[in-house]
């Protein structure tokens, strides 16, 4: 079972919500839709589900055009951001509902419901009503209902966003393992880059209704096709510094120069936007060609085992993602080390022209 | 149906309204109306404007019948012009 979107657009009241998306999802794949709020993730999912019709373009399942087929006749399931269950049915009946409609015999139905409930750890509350459960359990019920039938496409629309941090971590992990054994297409929408990374699989980056990049998650992360993808797919967002390449030198804002190293030699002279990941800037030099940069501390944010350091110099602001706890006063002057061999370079239109070589390719 | 005491003018009037509604529906079906803001204080669709036009025309008729010596057709003529203005710029 594969799902293909061909030149799909959706226009509502004169506003373009989805613009010319081409996408193929392979059977057994786990796909993350990454994008900010209102970037079109939900709209795209609704098109895949058949809840809405595209204004233009075709949707193919296994090569068969299903564009106008109502949702009831497509074998899909969906989990929403809000905890959507039938409030007047027990958890058991909620999970059983798609099976009852599929006219499964009693024994098989009961077995499947119990199996699925056990898988999601809600087997002890089958008799309760959804609204008597905690948020996490409600969402598990919704997930169980989505998983109990062997849907060919399972859609998750930011299902964990309303849950506690720790709960999210647990459910995310469960999801990963649940789908390993299945041969269906899973689609998962999220706004959080870390969630996309944790879920693995493929990632499609959406921005203002357009599909910017689609590929294996690690590849999209390490080789973002353009600057918007790079900014969106990292938390904290990738640092962007405008710079100019001359014959054998790179200049950031008049003052900061460094020699073109092997890595950047292929760059033609001209203006670029240089991206550097917050985690790649260090407080101590890691290699010889690290560029020493005096900066002033804006704010040091501590988080568990990590520190997010906001710094600035007269021309630009940077965020550092350091492991360990580092405490600094506001306006303290420090030196940071800018890894010149770990730079992304984007041209003036924002397209990636260079990404740093990696020690380990995923 | 005898008890409904039909007369030609009223039959004509209701047929006219029915035709108008049917016409509006067909028009709406083939070219959906978009809400817009004209000289009226609210955002209106084509149907809203027609309704407002008909309602105000009814008052115009009442006013002319009740408080002037003009013939009722004067009111009708004025109403047609008024509705046309409303449909176009309201």
């Amino acid at each position: 079972m594969s799902l293909t979107l061909q030149n799909v657009s959706r226009v509502v009241d004169g506003e373009t919500w989805i613009s010319d998306v081409n996408l193929t999802l392979e059977p057994g794949s786990f796909n993350v839709l990454l994008g900010r709020t209102l970037s079109g993730k939900t709209t795209l999912m609704r098109l895949m589900a058949g809840l809405d019709r595209p204004s233009k373009g075709k949707i193919l399942m296994n090569g068969v055009d299903v564009t106008g087929v109502p949702v009831r006749e497509r074998n899909i399931s969906m989990v929403y951001q809000q905890f959507i269950n039938y409030p007047n049915l027990s958890v058991y009946e909620n999970i059983a509902s798609p099976l009852r409609l599929a006219k499964l015999d009693k024994g098989a139905l009961d077995r499947r419901v119990r199996e699925t409930a056990e898988m999601l750890g809600i087997d002890s509350m089958l008799d309760r009503l959804p609204l008597e459960l905690s948020g996490g359990q409600q969402q598990r019920t919704a997930m169980a209902r989505a998983l109990v039938k062997d849907a060919q496409i399972v859609l998750f629309d930011e299902p964990l966003v309303n849950l506690d941090y720790k709960l999210r971590e647990g459910l995310r992990e469960e999801l990963r393992s649940l789908f390993k054994a299945r041969n269906c297409i899973a689609v998962y929408a999220t706004t959080e880059p870390n969630e996309a990374l944790a879920l693995g699989g493929n990632t499609a980056v959406l921005h203002e209704g357009r599909l910017l990049q689609m590929g294996p998650t690690a590849q999209v992360y390490h080789k973002p096709r353009d600057i918007i993808t790079a900014e969106m797919f990292s938390e904290p967002p990738i640092n962007v510094v405008p710079g100019e390449v001359t014959e054998n030198e790179v200049t950031f804002d008049q003052d900061v120069h460094f020699q073109l190293n092997n890595d950047l030699k292929m760059l033609k002279p001209g203006h670029y936007q240089f991206g550097v990941r917050a985690s790649h800037i260090g407080l101590v030099p890691h290699s010889d060609d690290d560029l020493e940069l005096p900066v002033r501390v804006d704010l040091a944010e501590l988080s568990g085992s990590e520190t997010f350091l906001h710094v600035r110099n007269p021309h630009f602001e940077l965020v550092l993602h350091l492991s360990g706890v580092h405490e600094y006063d506001v306006d303290q002057e420090i030196k940071i080390y800018f890894p010149t061999h770990k730079l992304y370079a984007f041209d003036t239109e924002g397209h990636l022209v260079h990404s740093p070589a990696r020690l380990l390719e995923a | 149906m005898n008890w409904m005491v039909w007369t030609m003018p009223t039959a004509g009037f209701f047929s006219g309204i029915a035709l108008l509604l049917a016409g509006m529906t067909v028009w709406q079906y083939f070219s959906p109306s978009v809400e817009r803001k004209g000289f009226l204080p609210i955002v209106t669709t084509r149907g809203d404007r027609l309704f407002i036009g008909l309602l105000t025309s009814a008052y115009l008729h009442l006013g002319i019948i009740g408080f002037t010596e003009f013939h009722v057709l004067v009111a009708t003529a004025l109403s047609v012009i008024w509705i046309a203005i409303l449909m176009r710029w309201g």
Partner: protein, 295 residues
């Protein structure tokens, strides 16, 4: 912590504390005030009804004789007369029959319509809605005659269904309106989930959706009952003997020898009782969603 820091950083200055205390006292007073106010209002509200009840247990001699706050000569004769005379109690049965019919019809047609208004955009939806509403404004005084002729011409005159249908004129609009408010409060994702699960529309509507808006249906039923039960003009016009409502029968108490006050009062009291029953049933829904779902 030492005393000095405490005095150095008091939560509030003595002055503002005093005013705070005064404020607290004021709050208590205002709560008391509202209790007293409500009690007074409720007493004023009940007083006329009390007077009717009081009168219904009296004999006509006592009523006309002297003003007494409690029936001195307590009698159930008035009630007995009504409850034993079929020409009296049939009036109640008639009224309840057409009210129940009206509630059923109104709900049956209004439920899908309200669903459509809350979920779909269709040609002329707003105008249709407004048209429904305008029917509440039709003056029954003048429409009575055409109604009479209409129902006579189709042979429904003096039947319960005639009154029930006539009352639909104003009740359906109201039902659609109230239900639409409640339905808009149900997330559309529930509908979608049902379709995704494989429900057919009506299956979903009856099994899932209607139980979901129970409160709304309760509140709607309350209003339907209320407006149908209290209406007099249409009910009187469309009936003669077989389906005559109690309200119309009550006018019989004015006989040649003057008005039979005790009997009138008892008949009046009996018209209030079904209402009390209805309120009792919907009282829990009231708190939940009397706001017609529109806040």
């Amino acid at each position: 912590m030492t005393q000095s820091t405490a005095t150095g950083q008091t939560v509030s200055t003595p002055k503002s504390r005093q005013s705070a205390l005064a404020n607290a006292r004021y709050k208590k007073e205002s709560a008391l005030k509202s209790n007293i106010g409500l009690t007074v209002y409720l007493i004023l509200l009940i007083l006329p009804i009390y007077w009717l009840v009081n009168m219904s247990f009296k004999t006509n001699q006592e009523i006309l004789g002297a003003l007494t706050f409690f029936p001195a000569d307590f009698t159930l004769a008035n009630y007995k007369q009504i409850l034993t005379d079929p020409s009296w109690y049939n009036g109640y049965i008639n009224s309840m029959t057409y009210v129940a019919m009206n509630m059923t019809i109104s709900l049956l047609v209004a439920l899908p319509a309200a669903y459509a208004f809350s979920r779909y955009k269709f040609v002329g939806d707003k105008h249709l809605f407004f048209w429904l509403l305008t029917n509440k404004m039709a003056p029954p005084a003048v429409f009575a005659l055409p109604f009479f002729q209409l129902y006579s011409s189709i042979g429904l005159f003096d039947t319960h269904i005639a009154v029930a249908l006539a009352h639909c004129l104003f009740n359906v609009a109201l039902a659609v309106w109230i239900l639409e408010g409640f339905m808009s409060g149900v997330p559309i994702e529930i509908d979608e989930t049902a379709y995704i699960d494989g429900y057919k529309f009506w299956n979903f509507f009856i099994k899932i959706y209607i139980p979901l808006i129970r409160s709304g249906i309760g509140v709607t039923a309350f209003f339907l009952f209320m407006f149908s039960w209290i209406e007099l003009l249409l009910a009187r016009t469309l009936t003669a003997t077989n389906a005559q409502p109690i309200q119309a029968i009550m006018t019989r108490t004015a006989g040649a020898s003057g008005i039979d006050w005790g009997l009138l009062a008892a008949a009046g009291v009996l018209t209030i009782l079904p209402g009390i029953l209805v309120i009792y049933f919907v009282r829990n829904h009231v708190a939940k969603g009397f706001a017609l779902g529109r806040t």
